[in-house]
């Protein structure tokens, strides 16, 4: 495991999402997470950052998003924080992903569902007047690790 957490502070500019994904990708590679799981975690973190940009900051690109990446022998944890408008509690609640009937397919609301789908533990903490924080934790299991592929 790595001795220290990694802290990133990035502007709420969607052009920077590729940079965030790149950092997360390399960090997970260093930790030894299996490539399929890496792609899922990168997607879920991207969704959390996109939510901050779209909803908390309502498209403003000069605000700040902070990511903290930490890992232990038991888990990988990523926290995404913003100082924007708090997300209504019902928006972050767990709703299982089920195959919809064709007439029920909706284009929105998928990001939070994907975050819950990918991580073992997800905690949304909207501030009372300002800010949001989502903490996403993935437990190490034999099927997650590169060494277990063989």
């Amino acid at each position: 495991m790595l001795a220290d957490d990694i802290r990133l502070q990035v502007s709420s500019d969607p052009r920077l999402l590729g940079v965030i994904r790149g950092v997360i990708q390399v960090w997970l590679e260093v930790l030894g997470l299996l490539i399929d799981r890496r792609q899922e975690v990168v997607l879920a973190v991207d969704e959390a950052c996109s939510n901050a940009m779209r909803h908390a900051y309502e498209g403003r690109t000069d605000e700040s998003i902070e990511l903290v990446l930490s890992a232990s022998n038991e888990w990988i944890e990523i926290t995404v924080s913003d100082q924007g408008t708090p997300c209504p509690t019902e928006c972050s609640e767990y709703r299982p992903l089920l195959p919809p009937a064709p007439h029920e397919v909706e284009p929105g609301g998928l990001g939070v569902k994907l975050i819950h789908e990918v991580f073992d533990e997800v905690r949304f903490c909207p501030g009372t007047t300002r800010g949001n924080c989502v903490t996403m934790r993935l437990h190490w299991t034999a099927k997650n690790e590169v060494d277990s592929e063989d």
Partner: protein, 90 residues
Amino acid sequence: MIVVEGDIDLYSSPELRSAVLKAVPKAITGVGVHLGGVTYMDSSGVATLVEGLRSAKEHDKTFTLLAPSTAVMKVLELARLDSVFEVRSA
């Protein structure tokens, strides 16, 4: 046919959305979106494809995903939406 390459995310999906929603009403029988060169797709990309599918149904047209990359199929499967779309390998 609409050919998409690179990453589809919050930054790039509005351009794809615009292209798809313009193409659907003009299509004779339907729209094909070639996704073989897509290296990454997030939920905004999925939402764009769902919007395209709904628009196509409203216009009585087909909406087909052509040669979707593994990155595209992975997110569609994760979202349980892989069976919603008509997919062709080429």
